[in-house]
Every structure is written in C-alpha cells, then in structure tokens.
C-alpha cells in the first residue's frame, strides 16, 4: 500500500521510496527513510498527508505520498 492509503492515527513502516534521485535524497535526509516507522497525523484524502517520524512532523504532498510504499503495523 501507499502512504496515501494509511488512515488517520495509524502507524506504519516505510518499505520503498520510488522517486527520482533528487526527491529521494530530500526525503531521506529529512529522516523519511526506508525502514523507518511513522504515524499518520492527518490524511484527508485530498491535500498533503501529515506524518510524524521520530518526533518530527512533516507534510508530504499527495502525489509524493503515492510514491512511498508502506505497510501498516
């Protein structure tokens, strides 16, 4: 499943990030990395998905969130 499919309040694990080099580097340097756990703070099914990774909060654009493969935990 994609990050965009994870409902509010659920936790998950990032499996794969399927983007170009530039975006990949941006995401991982912010700690949004393969193998990291996250909590979905807000996902309205339109607009950015807001996640919490290791105490930091990020807004990830909708399109971007569809390229992040995750599994719910």
């Amino acid at each position: 499943m994609n990050l965009s499919d994870v409902p509010n309040g659920k936790k998950g694990l990032i499996l794969e990030i399927e983007t170009g080099k530039r975006l990949f580097n941006r995401l991982v340097s912010m700690g949004i990395n393969q193998g990291n756990e996250f909590t979905v703070v807000r996902n309205n099914h339109n607009g950015p998905v807001i996640i919490d990774v290791d105490g930091s909060r990020f807004a990830v654009g909708r399109g971007m969130s569809e390229k992040i493969l995750v599994t719910e935990t």
Binding site: R26, N44, R57
Partner: protein
Amino acid sequence: MMKRSIKLAIAGNPNVGKTTLFNKFVGSNQHVGNYSGVTVEHKEGCVNCEGYEFIVTDLPGIYSMNAFSPEEILTRNFIANEKPDLIINIVDASNLTKNLYLTFQILEMKVPVVIFLNMMDSVEKKGFEIYPDILEKEIETPVIFGVARKGKGIDDLVKKCIEVYENKPELTTVPYSENIKGYIRDIKNVFSKHNYDGHHGPDFAKDWRAIRLIEGSDTDLNEVPPEDAEKIHEVIERLNRESGHKIHSVVMVQERYRLIKDVVAKVRGKTGKATSDVSSKIDKYVLHPLLSLPLFFLMLFLMFQTVFTFGEPLEGLLETLFGSLGEFVGSFWAVGSDSILRSLIVDGIIGGVGGILVFSPYIFLVFMAIAFLEDSGYMSRVAVIMDRWMSKIGLSGKSFMPMILGLGCTVPAVMAARIIENKFERLATIMVTPFMSCGARLPVYLLIIAAFIPDGYQAMTLLMIYLLGVVVAATVAKLLRLSVFKGEENPLIIELPLYTRPSFKSIMMLTWERGKHFLEKAGTIIFAASIILWFLNSFPRVDMEHVDKSLSNAQISYMQAEGSYSGTIGKFVEPAFKVFDADWKIASSFLASLAAKELFVSQLSILNSLSENEEGSNLLEEKIKEQYSFATAMSIIMLILLSAPCVATFAAVKAETNSWLWPSVQYIGMVIISYIFAVAAFLIFS
C-alpha cells in the same frame, strides 16, 4: 599580544534554533553577507570574547549536503572554499536521528566540528533523556549541550571552540564498514593516477570526492576525465550489483543511517511517557479539514487589517514630512522661481523618491507580519493548507504567500518568493505575482469606478477587477509551468516545526534585514527613474517670458505637460491607444504609471489642468466622464491591472532572479497581455 581571530560557521537543520544561537553569539553586531543572487543569504557577525575575535557565519538551514538546493550548494561551497576554522553543528536533541544525518555529512568533509545539542529542555517532555558524554565518545567529536533560546550552554560553547581551535585535535573519521571503505579506496585509486583536482589535495579531499561519486553526483563525475569516469562507473556498478540496490545513492544513505541508529541507541534513554504537546493541539484546529480555510482567511484578514491600520497614519506622516522637506528646500529659491535645479530637487527627487518611500511603512509592516507568521511556525502550515489548490496551477503551497502579499505591494511579494526552493516554481511565482492587484493601483480604479460605475455596483466592480488579476495570474502560472518553467515536478515536502512564541527581537531583526534590502536595492533605481521622469515631464520648458500672464498655474502646468517630452511621447504612442478610443493624455499618464501605478492619477490631473489641491476632488471624475466612453474606461482598467510592473518591482525581480532577462521578459509579456485585454474589453463593452 596579538588578538587571534577564529572563523566559525554555524550549520544545522532548519528550525533547530540556528539563528537564535547566532544572535546569542554575536548580538546585534551582524549583517547579511554576500547576497550572492541565488536567493540564498548567509549572515555574518563579529564578537570579541576572552581575547579572541570570532567571525561567525550563519549558514542557511539544510537537511543534507547533497548539493540539490541552492542552500545546500552554498553551505557545501562555503565549507570547501572558505575553510572555516571550526563548524558549530547545531543539533536538535529531541530529533537526533534526522539531525545526525547532516552531522555525518559534515564530518565527512573533514573539518573541525563542535556539536551544540540544542533544545535539551524539550527532550524531557518527549519522554526520554540524552547522554551528551556518550555521544561525544561515540562520534569522537566535542559535544556541548544547552538551550540556545535561554542562553544556556553558550559560554561552554565559546570555551570549547577556543579549546578546539588551540589544540587542533585529530579530525574524526566516520567509521564506515570495511565494505564501503573498500569501494572508497577503489575509486580513490582510479583518480590518484592522474593529475587533476584532488591529486595534489590532501587525502581527505579525495575521500570526500569518492563518497560524492558513490552517491551519484553528476557534477563530480563530469569533472573527471572520460577514461577515469569509465573506471569509476565500473566500481559503482559493482557496488550496486553487490549491495542489491537499484539506485546507487541508497548505499551511502543506508550506511549513514546504520551508523546513526547504533549511536542513537546508546545515546538516548527512555524515561517515561511523552506528554502531549501544545503544537498537536493547535494543529487540530489549524489543519482541520473544515476549519483550516476559514481560520487562515481570518488570519489573512487580520494581517491586512493590521498593515493598513498602522500603515495609513505612517504613510500620511511621511507624506507630510516629504511635503515640508520639499517646501523647505524650495524656500531657498525666490517665490515663483523657475530654476531648473529647484525643480529637479523638489519635484524630481524629493517628489519622486518621496512618492515611493511613503509606501515603505506598508512594506515594513508586511515584512513584520511575515516574520511573525514564520517565527510562530504558522507559515509552513499555510503551505500545507493551500497546497491542494496551488498544485492545480502547477505551483505548490509555498507560492501562495508571495501571491497573496502581492495584493498589498508587489515588491515584498516578489522578495517573499525566496521561501520556494524549486527554481522553476520560484520563477513562475515571481513572474505572475505582479498580476495580483497591488495597493498602488487602487487609486486608479477608484477614480474610474467613481466616474463610470453607478452607485450600487461599485464594490462589485472592484471585486471583479481583483478577481480578474487572480485568474490571469493563475492562468499564466499554469502556462509557464507547462512550457518555459516545465522542470521537475516539485511536490510539497515540508517540516512542520513546533509552534513557538515569536520573539520581538528576532521579528524586528528579520524585518529590518529585509526592509533595508528594499530601501537599498529599489531605492537606487527609483532615484534614477525619478530623475528621468522629471526630465521627460519638465523639458522642453515653457518659455515663461512669453506666457500670457493671465493664465492660471494649472493652465501653465498643462502647457508644460503637453509640450514636454512625455507629452510628445504620449502623442507619438497615441495611435496604439486610439484603438480603444483613448487619447495622448491617457497615453502619457499610462507612461507615468510605469514608474509607479498611482502616478497615473497625478499625471492625468496635470494634463487636465487641475491644480494639486483639486486632485482629490470630483473635478477629475467629471472631466474624464466627459472625455471618454465606458468601454475606454474599462480598457484603462485592464492596462493598469495587467500591464508592466512598476520600476520598484522591476528592480526587485532583477535582484531576486539575478538576471536582466526575467524582469525584461516579464515587462514585455505583461505589456502585450494587458494590451490584448484592453482591446478585448473595449470590443466587449462598446
């Protein structure tokens, strides 16, 4: 004893208190340094401490050193070229994992580093504790801890910096696995055989270059001779094959995080449960699916309200001030004197520059409001709230704030576009911002609406004008993003910092820094433009000796204006304005509006031989009602709304894009677009 000077640079993630630390370190003794035109700035400051002089540079906040953004390139080049004696790496103790990623990349560059573990107070609230001494041992780098906001730990930091500077301890080697070290060695072997950059350099420069090559840096690969590039490519291919990763940069990323995970596990201990933080509670409302928009518009409304409430009296004050200054300077000449020098100084320079400077309170207040929103943490939420809509026109949420500021004044709006990292998106935003109708255009609309629109429909007409500006801006943005500024898609990824109470001092410093920039950069161009405009309006001069003495001052002004170069130019371009039934007076007033939009009204009053004190009255309305049709009036509105930005905007766009091309393209493009709309409006309404 000679004083020693230590060159320091502060580097770290965004929102970890970098600038707070910098301000605590150097106080107000600072300036924005080397505005390099890539829309990234770094600050420099000096301070004397314990017999040492510290030259401190505050680098922009970054997450990594992969050189993908202008900020990253600036930081990387600064460390590589300026060779600071010491880097203070400020690290958010409550977010170790993410912050240490940058730390490791800095350590890879083999520069002396002191780590400042900031926000130790918020660690406890998150339910764990941090052991700085263990961190120091683990990464073999000096660690100081404290709370920058409260000034805690700053003295220790200064002492440690001096100690490191004097003792020059051995530099840390990042303990990569033997496997990775092997690949680094293999790549280094390739380029040590040849005589190019890196060959004569110290060994660590080669290490660093090898790491960048493993990460897939294209710029580094281009610097290598083709036969070496081939061999390096082979090593990287082998590495990818053996590690099983598809994208090569993954290897270094995962290696760094593997090390960081080990470190964090030892350094961080759990103490209890995290207390629920205030930020989450605020975000429940601020980012609420239904409440977020109304709250945001309320915020905007309050912001504009504040800016206008405080701006208006200040503007009035400045107007009076420049008025009296003009009178005072003018009083050096005899009454009724037609001295050219007097006219240049009083009408040209004081009138022209003053006419623009009276708007500076608005600009400073807008900057203050932005600084407040940024400092409080709300600004990044705005990007989130608006992203959904902005992405439809090829921009992201970050473009929204500059565009909305354009409704106040285009100059700070263009400057606010700096927060957009993506170059193409930033350019597109800057290009369309002048379509958002700024405050200076309002007097023109008010004049025309009062003259041509019946009472009940006036407010509605005004709203439609503003909406048209927004629609044109959105359409042009979309077209630009589909053509010239295609570039890579730039999805929103933004960190939402914790809400903090903004500090008055930092808001004031930020406001002054940006406002000063407006005064300097735009000021020089406005000065030149004022003199040019004055010249065009004042020459050739009316021969006062042969003027009929019975003529009023206003009639003489009219003669002067008609006979002047600007009158001549107005008549020369009149055919273009005839298309929608306007005459040379409109043409000349329009040309004046190119300096500043509201000049349209003053020039039109001069040309209709109204003296200054009648300007605000209904006389001008009556006059234009007699001379022009409704359709022509609508065409004029199109010209004022959509055509070429004022000189100050031109100057700001030139400064922000660091090129003459983009402001020129914008200028010509807007003239063409406005002309098409003016003709169309004429055809529709006649």
